[in-house]
Every structure is written in C-alpha cells, then in structure tokens.
Amino acid sequence: MTIGFAIAFAILTGLAVIGVARFLQQRQDYENATARSYQREINARNRLTQGQNSVAARTTIILQQRQREALRDEISSETRDTALLVGAGLIAGLTGAALLFTGLIASMRRPLEDLVDASGRLAGGDLNARVKVGGLTETATLGGAFNEMAEELQRRAGERDQLDRMKDEFVLTASHELRSPLTSVQGFAELLMLEREKLTPGQAETVEVILDNTRHLTRLLNDLLDLARSDAGRLTIKPVHTDVTSLIEDAARTMRAQFDARGQELGLEIEPDLPAVEADRDRIRQVLVNLLTNANEYCPEGAEIQVKARHASAEIEIDVIDNGPGIPKQQLEHIFERFSRGDAGETQRVGGTGLGLAISKSLIELHGGSIGAESTPSNGSTFRVRLPASGAASLAEAERSRAEA
C-alpha cells in the first residue's frame, strides 16, 4: 500500500516536472525565434534607410511582423496545452493519492478498532483477549506486541492464581489438622469442668485456663480462615429463609455459660412476629456470637447486656447493647478495621483476635445489610446490625421451594 502511494506521488511529481520543463523549453524557443525575427526586421529597416532594394526590405518587415504574430499564437496555444497537461497530471495524481490514502486509512482502521476492542476486554479482565495479526506492517507489529503483552499477563495471572490456591489449600489443611486435637483438648477440659466439685479450686482454675485458651485458638483458626477466604473473594454465604427470633435465641444459648461465668445479665427483647430474613444462619449466628463475645469480654463482671430486635421499615434491626465502659471516639472510628482492638491493657486481658468485627462487617455486607457502632465512654456501647427483611415475593418463593422440596 505504501509502495502504491509512493508510485502515485512519483507519477504526479514526474508529470509536473515534465510539464514545467516543456513549458520552459517552448518559452526559450519562442524567445529565440522572436529575437531572430526582430533582427531580420532591423536589418531590413537598415537596408531601407540606406535606400537599397526598398520593395524587398518592406516585404521582409511585413513578413517578419506576421511571423512574430504566428509565433505568439503558437506559443499561447502551446502554453495552454502544457497547462492542461500539468493540470491533468495534478488532478490525476491528487485523485490517485487521495484514493490510496483513503485505502490506507481504511486498512489501518480495522486492526486499530480490533486493538481498541481487545484492550477494553483485557482491561475488563478477559485475559483471553487477542487480536488477529495482519494488514500493514505497522498495525501487524502493534497487534503482535499486544498479543505478547496479553500472553504475559495471562501467564502471570495463572501463576498468581496457582499461588493463591496453594495458600488457600495450606490454610484449609492446617485448620483441618488443628481442629481434631483441639476438639479433644477442649472436650476433655469441659468434661473435667462438669465435675468441678471433685476438683480443688486450684485445679478448677487450671482447667479454666485450658478452656479459655482452646476457645481462643478456635476463634483464631476460624477468623484466619475467614480472612483468607475474604482476601480471595471467596467468603460466600448461602442465604435461606430464616427466622430471626430463633437465630438470636440460638446465639444467646451458645453464649449463656460465658455470661453466667462473669455474673453478667443477658436479656432478649425481640418484637413478636418479626418478618423472616434471607440469611446464612451460621454466618449471622457467627456475627451475633462475635458481638456477644465482645460484650462479654470487654464489660466488667455484673454488667448487663441486651439484645433487641425490631422491624423498621424494610429492615430488621438487631441491637447488642451493653452498659460497659464504652469505646473512646478514636477507637470507635476504626473499630471495623482489621486488627483494630481496644487499648493494650484491655487486649492483654481479653485476648480476642482483632479480626472478629472486620469479618462480621464483610458478612453482613454480603447479606446486603449494614453494621454500625455507637458508644458513649463510661456509658456503654450499642452495635446495630441491619438486615433487609424478606419481601412478600421472596416469602412466597420460600414457601414454594419448601413445598417442592
């Protein structure tokens, strides 16, 4: 295509040069002929003044004048021809060039459009995006470079995915292997505590320490696992039609012993006939247990903790309210961030993982809900979970799917 363009340009230039050269030559010939004619006329006029052969001299003068007129006519017609030639050459050359240029643009346009399209797909995460390499050398090179780049991106993404899988696999296996011995340690320590009356106070205290630590280990394992999942974007929920009241009662039952152990009151205040929610039971239970555990551990002995649930417009609001020491403003702002915990003295005593609230937030958001905290120092804290209530349509749907099952 470029060669064609160059040829057209050469033809155009050639025609113009030939035309101009021809014009100059014709002009030169005309001037020479005219000069010779004038010379002859001058000679004739000289002869006339000298009185020689006056008839012949006069004839020569008239002939020469006529010849110059003829020469003028000839040169003007030749100039017109040359101008026509140059003009035709110009028009033909320009038209050809324009046609070639349009063709050139068109032949670049397709590959460029393909490139734009493929870049868009690549940026959108489609690592299989490639372009067809062809056409002009320049666009072909560009297309080839693009494909190489996409290839490299895909290769690296593959490596990264593989590393992620290995990491996930490791976290899963480690957590699995740790769970069985942990079950035994925790189970037998609990067994000892069931016969507390047979233990000396010192022994009972020792077993209590074992239990506290197994609970901490379990929580750490679960939190690390959730965190690994969350990072991999694989923290998922399986929502089913769920009764909020039984969910709260279930969480409270799990925590009852811990509250009793610290002489704390746990009260439930659940509005009757709460609509159901579409929720992953285990995950919402996990969030509620996390909030209750925090209240249990951060509040002093004898504190009062309340769980209130009500229906507010299209949402179910669940509040976990305590009358504990409250949370300072600076901490409250970052409380749902990872590894954000109470002050150092407190965390030494409490021993949480600093991950619970961050995970709770992710889980509630996966449910399309929200979680927030309010606190007045020395006047307790309130954690509020909002979950969208099931609409009438989804209620009917749940009934139907239950009927089908």
Binding site: R179, T183, G187, T254
Partner: protein
C-alpha cells in the same frame, strides 16, 4: 433419650463423645470407620435413632457410608461432624439427606440441641 451410632477414627474423640452423650442419658454404639457403620446398621436397621458420623475417616468416610445407606433406603437421621472448614459444602448433596452438620471443635450445647431436635 436416644440410641446413637457414633463414628470417628480417633479413639480419643470416640471416648469423649461416648462420655458426654452417656452423661446426657443417650445410649451409644461406636464405629471406627464407614465400613463398621454400614455393618452395624445392616445388622440392626431399626437400632440406632441417629447417626453421628465424622466426615473424614480412613478406609471409608462418614459421607461415603451415609451415601451407601441412603441408596439402600435407610432413612435414619444423620449428623455429620466435620473438621473441614467448609463442612457445609461437603454435606450439601441432597442425595445424602444429611439433617445437619456440626463443626469441630464440637460445641456440645449445640450438639445436644441438634440431637434433641432430630430425635424428638
């Protein structure tokens, strides 16, 4: 109180489960793998009122044993104990008809509540 068939490959955990369940007044039979579970259920299909099976056991897992029993038309309620982090995914197959699953380390209060629910 219920007759419960408990299977786990760890003797320690079997001892723990047996002790806690018997303290609750349940009658406990134990198996060390899925083969033993199938054998015990075949011998006396109306015996156990509940199967409490570990998901992962060598030779035959609780999940494989349960799948075989279900194919034979045995409908005894089953609770799967799983040390696997994604326990729920393991037991989500509707053919297994798993009634519930419980994670390790075992929360016994939760376990007792689920047993009461399934055997009432």
């Amino acid at each position: 109180m219920a007759r419960i068939l408990v299977a786990d490959d760890s003797e320690t955990i079997l001892l723990l489960l047996r002790t806690r369940l018997e303290m609750e007044g349940h009658e406990v039979e134990t198996a060390a793998d899925g083969h033993e579970v199938i054998e015990l259920v075949r011998r006396d299909p109306s015996g156990p009122e509940l199967l409490l099976l570990d998901a992962m056991m060598p030779r035959k897992s609780g999940i494989d044993a349960l799948r075989e029993l279900r194919q034979e038309g045995i409908e005894i309620p089953a609770l799967i104990v799983s040390a696997h982090a994604d326990g729920r995914n393991e037991v989500s197959d509707p053919e297994l008809a798993v009634n519930d699953y419980i994670a390790k380390p075992i929360d016994f209060e939760q376990l007792f509540a689920k047993i009461a629910e399934l055997t009432s």
